[in-house]
C-alpha cells in the first residue's frame, strides 16, 4: 500500500505529470530531419537509411477488436523478422513499429502524426474507421499506406495518392456473392444483414441491384452493431420473411452468432447464406454451429487453405494463428510490401508508389493472393474473389469468381479444381 501510494504520489505531485510527460517528450523530441524531398544523396527519404527501412502501423491492439485485428500485424512482424534474418532487403533491415490505437480514430491519427516525420511507409492494419480517419493526412504527406483492411469507399475510390489496398470493398463483394449464389442455385429472394463495416449501405444496395437485375428480389435488410450479443430477433425476422438467400457482411464472431441464431430458430434460408471476406476469420471457425456449414458461402480475398509452398503458410504453421485468415492476409501483405521495395530502384516514397501502380497481374504471394493489378486510377489490387465454405476447422475454396468494379464485365465463376 505504502509503495503504491508513493508511486501515485510521484505521478501526481504538483502537476509533475505534465512536467514529466513534457520532459520525456522533449528528450525524445527534436524532429529528425524534417521534410520528405529527395535532395541528391543516395538515401534521402524519410525513414530510409543505408541500413534500415522504418515501417509502422497503427493497429487495434486493445479493446474488443484486438483479438481479430492483432494477428495481421503480428504475422507481418514475423515475416519482416524472417526477411531481416535472411539479410534484409538489399542490405537494409526492416524496422517495424506497431502502435495501439484501440480502434479510436483520435489515437490512430496521433500515431500517424508521429510516423509521418520518421517512418517510410505505413503498413495497413485493421479497421475501416481508423483508415478513414488517417488516410487524408497520409495522402497529403505523400506517405504510402500499403494495403489497409478497409471497407470505406472514399479511401480508395477515387484513388487517393499513396493509399493502396488489396481487398475489394464489401459492396463489391456482396454484389459478387449474390451473382455467385444466383448462378449456383438459381435466382431468388435475398435478405441482407450487415454490421456497419465501412460502406454498409452500398453493400445492401449493390446486393439489391444485382439481385433485381438477375431476376431475383430483395425482401428486406437489417443493420446490427458489431458485437451485438443476441441475433435471435433478426433470425426471427428472416424466418418470417422466408428468403431464398441471406446475404451478410459481418465481422467473424458476429457472423458465427448470427448463423447459430439462424440454426436455433430453424431459420436457415432455402438456398444459401452468402457472406463477405469480413466473415472469413478464425473467430468464425472457432464458434459457428457446424449444422449450417453446407449452406454457408463466403467471399474470401485469399486462397484457403493456403498453398503449402508459400513462405507465409510455412512461417505461420504451428503458431498461434496457423489457420487464421487474417494472419495470412497480414503476412502476405508484408510479402507484397517487401516485393515492392525490392522492385523499387531508388527507394523513395514516390518511387515505391510508382512501382506498385505499375503492377499488372503481379503474383506477389502465390498460393495466397491471386495476382494483383493496380493503376494510377485503380487502387484496389485484387481482381479475384475466392468462394469458400467452412469445413470443420478450416475454410476450403470451392470456386473462384472474377471480380471487377466494372459492373458488366463480370464473367461467371469457375469451380475450384
Amino acid at each position: 500500500m505504502r509503495i503504491a501510494f508513493n508511486r501515485s504520489a510521484k505521478l501526481a505531485g504538483a502537476g509533475a505529470a505534465v512536467a514529466l510527460a513534457l520532459a520525456l517528450g522533449a528528450c525524445s523530441g527534436g524532429s529528425p530531419g524534417a521534410g520528405g524531398e529527395t535532395s541528391g544523396g543516395a538515401v534521402a527519404e524519410v525513414g530510409v537509411t543505408a541500413d534500415t527501412i522504418r515501417l509502422a502501423a497503427s493497429q487495434t491492439l486493445s479493446g474488443p477488436g484486438a483479438a481479430s485485428c492483432a494477428p495481421s500485424t503480428d504475422a507481418a512482424q514475423l515475416y519482416f523478422d524472417k526477411v531481416n534474418d535472411e539479410g534484409g532487403v538489399d542490405g537494409r533491415k526492416i524496422d517495424f513499429e506497431v502502435l495501439d490505437d484501440g480502434y479510436d480514430p483520435q489515437r490512430a491519427l496521433a500515431n500517424v502524426r508521429g510516423f509521418i516525420d520518421s517512418k517510410f511507409a505505413m503498413v495497413g492494419a485493421c479497421g475501416s474507421a481508423t483508415a478513414a480517419a488517417i488516410y487524408r493526412t497520409l495522402s497529403d504527406a505523400g506517405m504510402p499506406f500499403l494495403f489497409p483492411t478497409n471497407g470505406v469507399a472514399e479511401v480508395v475510390k477515387p484513388a487517393s495518392p499513396g493509399i493502396l489496398q488489396l481487398l475489394p470493398l464489401y459492396e463489391d463483394q456482396t454484389a459478387s456473392m449474390v451473382r455467385y449464389g444466383f448462378e449456383e442455385f438459381g435466382s431468388g429472394s435475398i435478405f441482407v444483414v450487415v454490421n456497419p463495416l465501412g460502406e454498409y449501405e452500398s453493400a445492401i444496395s449493390r446486393a439489391r441491384e444485382v439481385a433485381e437485375s438477375g431476376g431475383g428480389s430483395f425482401v428486406d435488410s437489417a443493420v446490427a452493431q458489431l458485437g451485438t450479443t443476441d441475433y435471435t430477433p433478426i433470425a426471427l425476422q428472416i424466418k418470417e420473411a422466408d428468403p431464398d438467400f441471406v446475404v451478410m457482411s459481418m465481422g467473424g464472431s458476429d457472423s458465427a452468432k448470427f448463423v447459430n441464431a439462424l440454426v436455433d430458430q430453424n431459420a436457415l434460408p432455402r438456398s444459401a447464406v452468402l457472406g463477405t471476406s469480413a466473415s472469413v476469420a478464425g473467430s468464425f471457425l472457432s464458434s459457428y454451429n457446424t449444422a449450417a456449414s453446407d449452406k454457408v458461402y463466403f467471399g474470401s480475398a485469399i486462397q484457403l487453405p493456403p498453398s503449402a509452398e508459400n513462405e507465409c503458410t510455412q512461417l505461420l504453421a504451428g503458431g498461434d494463428f496457423a489457420n487464421d485468415p487474417i494472419a495470412l492476409i497480414g503476412c502476405a501483405s508484408a510479402q507484397a510490401i517487401v516485393e515492392a521495395i525490392r522492385q523499387t530502384p531508388e527507394l523513395t516514397r514516390a518511387n515505391l508508389l510508382a512501382t506498385i501502380e505499375s503492377w499488372d497481374e503481379e503474383d506477389i504471394s502465390p498460393g495466397i493472393f491471386a495476382p494483383v493489378s493496380f493503376s494510377a486510377t485503380d487502387h484496389i489490387g485484387l481482381k479475384t474473389l475466392y468462394v469458400v465454405q467452412p469445413q470443420g476447422t478450416e475454410f476450403g475454396v470451392i470456386a473462384e469468381c472474377p471480380y471487377s468494379e466494372d459492373e458488366n464485365a463480370d464473367a461467371s465463376c469457375t469451380p475450384a479444381g
Partner: protein, 633 residues
C-alpha cells in the same frame, strides 16, 4: 451521494495550472505526436471541467459526456460543410444546439436520483453513437464512414497555432468556471449537492440549478467537440462511445473533482499516459484502470488535492511561505470587511430591524394551520392538526419521538404536500406553492442536523441565506469579481452582520463549516436564516446535542434577534427549560394529533399532558433543560 468535498477559491491555482500547461506546451520542443496528444488532452480537459461543474460542484453524474462532445463536434462540422456557414456562426449554432439538447434531456433527468441520471446519460451516450452510425442521419453526418472536417481558418488543424487557440479557450473556460463556482450561483449548486431539500427550503430552485449545471456541463463538452473536430480533421462515431465518457470521468476523478484545475491535470495524465508513454495496448489498459482505482482509494481528492497537501506541507516546513499566504488572505479579507454602509445601503441588512410589520398590527397571524393531514402511503403522519401562531410570538412545538413535529415543519416549508387541510403564511395559502416560493414569503427554517455546506466556509454558508432575495445573475456570476464585486461586498457585510448577531467569533468565520462545533453550526444555520428577509423562523431542534451552557447562550441569541427584528419563531425542542425560557405559546403533538395548546407553563400543568407525556419522564422534567423523550441523533 457525493463524490467528495469541493474546493473553494480555485481561481488562482487553476489559472496557474492552465497557464503552466500553456507555457510548457508552447515553450518545449515537442515532437509532432506529443504536441498532438497534448492538444487533444487539453481539449478533453475542457469537457472534463464541464463535468466537474456537474459532478464535483453539483453532486450529479453523467456517463454521457462524450456524447455531448460528439453532438457539438458533429453539429458544428455539419453546418460548416453542408451549409457552408462561416466558422464562428457554425460554432455558435452548433454549441447552441448542444445546449438545447442538453436542456431537453436535462429537464427529464434532473428530477431523478443519481442512479437514474447515471443510467439515462449512459443510455443517451449509447444512443447518440448508434444514431451517428445509423442510416437516418447518414446523409448529414456520414454514418460509420465519418465526416471529414475542413481546417479552421487562421489556426489550421495542428501545430502551435492550434495549440494557442486551444490553450486560450482553456484559460477563458477556467476563468469563467472558477468565477461561477465562487459566486452565489456556485454556492447554490453546492448546497444542492449537499442536500436538495435544504436547498429548496433556503429558496433555491433545485431543478433549475441542476439543469443549469447540466447544460453548462454539456456546453463545455460541445466547445471541446468543436476544438476536437478541428484537430482530428475527421469525426467518426467510434471516438465518442461510453468508453470515452468513462475516460472523461476518469480525468475528473484522477485530477480531483470539485477543483476546476484538477481535471486539466487528470486529462493530461489520462490522455498522455496511454496515448504516448505506454504504447502496449494491454499494459496501458491495465495501468489506466489501476491508476484510476489507486486514485479513488488512496487519493480521492486527486492530483489537485495532493498538490494542496504538498502546499500545506511546504508552509509547515518553510514558515515564511505561510506568512506570505496569510498576509494575502488577510488583505483580501480587509478589503471587504467592515463596510456597514454597503449592508444597509444595498441589501437591507440591519435596516430590517425597523421594517414595518403591518401584519402584526392588522392582527393577521404569522401562521395558520387548519385541519392538516400528511400521509406517507398508508401511514398517516399528521391528522387534523390546527396551529395558530401570532405574528411576533415565539411558539414551541413539543411532543415525543415520532409525534410528527418535523413533518409539520416540512409541511409548512413546502417539502411535504399535505393530503388535506390548509396552511396560510401571513394570510396567504401555501397550497401548491413550491418550497422556494414559500421561502420568498419569509419562511426560513433550520434543520435538526445542521444543514450547512460542509466544504464551504462559514461566511459563504451564511450568504446562501440571501439566495432568495439577492439572486445572483448567472451572467454576472460568470464574469467573476469584475461584475459581482459590489454585490459580493454587500452579501459579505450582510453575512458578517448576521454572524455578529448569532455570536460567531470573527476568527471562526473563514473556516470551513465542517470544522465548527455543533453549536456553532446551528448558529450559522440561524444566521443563514436571519440574513434573508426572514419573517417566520422555523427551528427544528436547535437545542439537540448542545450543552446546558450552549443552550442558554443560544436562547439568549434567539431572544435577542426576536426582540430586535420582530421575528415570529416556531421552534421544536425537547428541552422544557429552554421552551419555558423563550416561548410565548406552545403546541403539544402526540401520534400526529394536537393534544394541547396554550401558554407553555399552563399547558404543561394540565393533567392530561402531565399524565400521558410528562408522567413518563417526570423526573427528567424537573431538572432545568430536561429532555422529553429521546430524539435520536
Amino acid at each position: 451521494m457525493i463524490i467528495g468535498d469541493a474546493k473553494n477559491r480555485t481561481l488562482v491555482p487553476s489559472l496557474v495550472i492552465a497557464g503552466g500547461v500553456t507555457v510548457a506546451g508552447l515553450a518545449l520542443p515537442l515532437d509532432t505526436s506529443l504536441e498532438y496528444t497534448l492538444t487533444a488532452a487539453i481539449v478533453w480537459a475542457i469537457a472534463a471541467i464541464g463535468l466537474d461543474v456537474l459532478v464535483g460542484f453539483t453532486g450529479q453524474v453523467s456517463f454521457g459526456q462524450a456524447a455531448f462532445v460528439a453532438i457539438g463536434a458533429y453539429a458544428t462540422s455539419a453546418l460548416r460543410i453542408h451549409l457552408g456557414l462561416p466558422t464562428p456562426i457554425a460554432v455558435i449554432l452548433g454549441v447552441g444546439a448542444t445546449g438545447a439538447i442538453a436542456l431537453l434531456l436535462g429537464s427529464v433527468v434532473v428530477r431523478y436520483r443519481i442512479f437514474g441520471i447515471a443510467t439515462a446519460t449512459l443510455f443517451f451516450g449509447y444512443l447518440v453513437v448508434t444514431a451517428l452510425m445509423g442510416d437516418v442521419l447518414r446523409p448529414v453526418f456520414g454514418g460509420a464512414n465519418g465526416l471529414a472536417v475542413p481546417e479552421f481558418e487562421l489556426v489550421g488543424s495542428h501545430g502551435k497555432p492550434y495549440l494557442i487557440l486551444v490553450c486560450a479557450v482553456l484559460i477563458v473556460v477556467v476563468y469563467l468556471t472558477c468565477s461561477l463556482m465562487d459566486s452565489q450561483t456556485g454556492r447554490a449548486l453546492r448546497l444542492v449537492k449537499s442536500n436538495e431539500a435544504v436547498a429548496a427550503a433556503v429558496g433555491i430552485r433545485v431543478s433549475r440549478m441542476k439543469m443549469l449545471s447540466f447544460v453548462y456541463c454539456c456546453i463545455l463538452a460541445a466547445i471541446a467537440g468543436v476544438l476536437y473536430s478541428g484537430i482530428v480533421g475527421y469525426l467518426g462515431p467510434e471516438g465518442f462511445g461510453i468508453k470515452q465518457s468513462v475516460n472523461i470521468f476518469a480525468m475528473l476523478v484522477v485530477g480531483g473533482a470539485g477543483t476546476v484545475g484538477g481535471p486539466i491535470l487528470g486529462a493530461l495524465l489520462v490522455t498522455i499516459l496511454p496515448g504516448y508513454l505506454l504504447r502496449d495496448g494491454h499494459i496501458s489498459a491495465i495501468v489506466f484502470a489501476a491508476v484510476l482505482l489507486l486514485f479513488l482509494i488512496l487519493l480521492p481528492e486527486g492530483i489537485y488535492g495532493l498538490g494542496q497537501r504538498v502546499g500545506q506541507w511546504l508552509v509547515r516546513v518553510f514558515p515564511p511561505l505561510g506568512r506570505l499566504s496569510r498576509r494575502r488572505a488577510r488583505a483580501a479579507a480587509r478589503s471587504v470587511r467592515h463596510d456597514p454602509d454597503a449592508a444597509t445601503g444595498t441589501v437591507g441588512g440591519a435596516s430590517r430591524a425597523v421594517d414595518e410589520r403591518p401584519e402584526a398590527e392588522a392582527g393577521i397571524p404569522a401562521l395558520e394551520i387548519d385541519g392538516l393531514e400528511v400521509k406517507f402511503g398508508d401511514f398517516i403522519a399528521l391528522s387534523d392538526v390546527d396551529v395558530r401562531i401570532r405574528a411576533g410570538s415565539v411558539h414551541a412545538i413539543i411532543g415525543p419521538n415520532g409525534a410528527g413535529k418535523t413533518t409539520l415543519l416540512n409541511a409548512v416549508s413546502g417539502l411535504y404536500v399535505p393530503s388535506r387541510g390548509d396552511i396560510r403564511v401571513f394570510g396567504a395559502s401555501t397550497r401548491g406553492v413550491a418550497p422556494h416560493r414559500i421561502r420568498q414569503r419569509g419562511v426560513v427554517r433550520t434543520f435538526q442536523t445542521p444543514a450547512i455546506v460542509p466544504d464551504l466556509d462559514v461566511l459563504d454558508n451564511v450568504k446562501l441565506g440571501l439566495d432568495a432575495d439577492e439572486k445572483g445573475s448567472f451572467w454576472a456570476d460568470l464574469l467573476g469579481r469584475v461584475a459581482t464585486r459590489r454585490r459580493e461586498r454587500a452579501l459579505e457585510a450582510e453575512a458578517q452582520w448576521a454572524l455578529d448577531a448569532v455570536g460567531i467569533d470573527e476568527s471562526r468565520r473563514s473556516l470551513l463549516a465542517k470544522n465548527l462545533d455543533l453549536s456553532e453550526q446551528k448558529r450559522v444555520e440561524i444566521a443563514r436564516g436571519l440574513v434573508g428577509h426572514a419573517r417566520l423562523l422555523l427551528l427544528d431542534e436547535p437545542t439537540a446535542g448542545l450543552s446546558v451552557k450552549q443552550m442558554e447562550s443560544l436562547g439568549a441569541t434567539l431572544k435577542d434577534v426576536h426582540a430586535r427584528f420582530g421575528l415570529t419563531i416556531m421552534v421544536i425542542s425537547h428541552h422544557i427549560g429552554f421552551i419555558l425560557d423563550i416561548a410565548d405559546e406552545m403546541t403539544v403533538l402526540d401520534y400526529g394529533r394536537v393534544i394541547g395548546n396554550g401558554e407553555p407553563a399552563e399547558v404543561l400543568a394540565r393533567p392530561l399532558i402531565a399524565a400521558t407525556f410528562m408522567g413518563v419522564e417526570a423526573e427528567a422534567a424537573d431538572a432545568p433543560g430536561a429532555t422529553v423523550g429521546t430524539e435520536g441523533a
